[in-house]
Amino acid sequence: MVERDTVNLTDQQQLVRDAIRDICADFDAAYWREKDAQGEYPQEFVDALADGGWFGALLPEEHGGAGMGTDEVVVMLEEIAASGGGFSAAQAVHGAIYNSVPLVKYGSEELKADLLPEVARGETSIQAFGLTEPNAGSDSTSIQTSAELDGDEYVVNGQKIWISRVDASDYLVLMARTTPREEVEKRTRGLSMLLVDLEDAYEQGGLEIEKIDKTASNFVHSYELFFEDLRVPAENLIGEEGRGFYQMLDGLNEERLAIAAECVGLGEAAIEAGVSYANDREVFGGPIGANQAIQHPLAEAHAHVQAAKGMVYGAASDADDDADAKAVGARANMAKYLAAEAAFDAADAAVQTHGGFGVAREYDVERYFREARLTRLVPITQQLALNYIGENVLGLPRSY
């Protein structure tokens, strides 16, 4: 086994790690392989976490949550990914942990009192977050989905794409324009955050969804959403009208660190698989791992994965008390960028190490590879992460 306990953890982080390892031990590689092959949401795994109250990780204790922070969540998600579940297993539950964060910070007392305890107990899920649109991917302030106030309801019209876990969620946190882009001073204004009760939306006939056929992260489904005169009670507005974009940004850096941790876990799983095969497989009378052509790519990727891990954990332990959001943002974007590249290199090396078996489902590395490719696209593409670093960290002119 390649040593994975490479950073110092607090007592609480250790407990999180050990507890998650316990849970993950009951969901082996065959489980994830099968879920991926069948494209079936890992409900049993998600339920195990929900039962343990894990989706209340970031919720305050007064609302029934655990009141933990980024430093514990990165451990949790890294462990899930590294257990063999990969990036997708972490993604299967990622939204459940992060989508209630804006609710905690900006939601009305009524919404919080209604929902948060249920979320913490794992009875209600807010797994879906709807931002991306066909005409607004990376350029997220260009979204066109509109929400217009009519009496005490918002009327929502428009289209979303790539929205994950809609099938596994009771609520969707929806980003919509409440003031057209032409009428606001800055493109980041005029956007609002609405909590959409999905069952109610289907019943009204105000929302139709269509599953996207894709080839990575097969067991976490993504959807196209079509809104037609969907009526959402005005009290479901999270925070202030027109301030939705800023509310979304608040907390995004911490979440990005969690995603970086998922990439690290995936990279570790790939390295483990590659190293184990390199030791076992004998060709030309010796283990293939004795060849530097096999050894070096694994060693190099391992070094990159561990470097990214150090950055993720360092930033995570500062994130919650570091008041300087810009500094956290810089580290979060760099960590995510590095972790995704490292995971990709690790998965690629693992596939190459496996020779032809690199594409056989049975060995899992092809699944890791497909997922690693995806980590370079979501939640923002590597280019956009670099844009951020160039502009906000290096002080270069905005390039887009």
Binding site: M1, D11, Q12, Q14, L15, V16, D18, A19, D22, I23, A48, D51, G52, G53, W54, G56, A57, E61, A66, G67, M68
Partner: protein, 262 residues
């Protein structure tokens, strides 16, 4: 009713490890809560949840590192913990009698009505600590318990014990008692997130020999570890294949070759 659960942090090794002197290289060891003790903790916590037990105290003998393990018992629901260690214990091998002396002192302090311990520890597998403790402190005991019901008012524990050859014994044990718990007694829970959070606020009292009124001589081991080696496999296993008739034929042949029934 008060329950004392003994838990041990056990060392685990993978396929590859190096022997250094009378031990295994530290870098090849991983530590975990002893599997049997996980069931004992669960049994204790279930008694508390059923309002049979008022308090569940976990006790371990181990260096500071073992707090990670005992904290897991707290996260799973034990109320507080006692960790016994002393610099004097790092030098030498601690045998069953030594451990029993330490636990005896803890029992004297805690005065539990029920002591739950694992049948054995996964690393040194003495399988003796629980029963030896019962003998020393004059408690009733039952070993290898795989079913448990405690009638606190009546002062008895109704237990099933697993005997050789799949035989089960049903026994009534008077409290106070020591029960050694077999895996399968229950289904140990995963630590919940709230449990983990709460564990941070629970006490782990560290005790040294002097705190327990003991001296190094009193826990000195009668046993010495003289050597650690990997047993050599003397023969290879043969997997007999084929249908029952063929397999039986081959088996008879092997037995004859080995001189059985000759």
């Amino acid at each position: 009713m008060k329950v004392l659960v003994t838990v041990k942090e056990v060392a685990e090794v993978g396929d590859d490890f190096a022997i250094e002197g009378t031990g295994i290289a530290e870098s090849d060891l991983e530590y975990d809560l002893n599997e049997w003790d996980d069931y004992a903790v669960e049994a204790g916590v279930q008694l508390a949840e059923a309002d049979v037990a008022d308090e569940v105290v976990a006790v371990t003998i181990g260096p500071e590192r073992s707090e990670e393990t005992i904290r897991m018992a707290l996260a799973k629901g034990a109320d507080r913990a006692v960790r016994v260690w002393d610099d004097a214990l790092t030098e030498e091998f601690l045998d069953v009698a030594g451990k029993v002396s330490l636990l005896e002192a803890v029992v004297a302090e805690e005065e539990p009505d029920l002591v739950l311990s694992g049948v054995q520890a996964a690393d040194d597998s003495f399988g003796a600590t629980g029963v030896a403790l019962a003998d020393r402190i004059g408690f009733e005991h039952a070993a290898v318990v795989n079913d448990l019901e405690v009638a606190a008012d009546a002062g008895v524990a109704n237990v099933h014990r697993e005997l050789e050859g799949g035989v089960e014994e049903l026994t009534e044990v008077d409290l106070p008692a020591v029960l050694t718990v077999q895996t399968g007694l229950n289904e140990p829970r995963y630590a919940s997130l709230r449990g983990i959070r709460q564990a941070q606020r629970k006490e782990i009292a560290a005790k040294e020999l002097s705190d327990l009124g003991l001296s190094a001589e009193e826990v000195a081991s009668a046993l010495t570890l003289t050597e650690m080696y990997e047993p050599e496999s003397e023969s290879d296993a043969e997997m007999i294949e084929g249908d029952a008739g063929e397999a039986a034929g081959r088996l008879a042949e092997v037995l004859r070759e080995k001189g059985v029934g000759a």
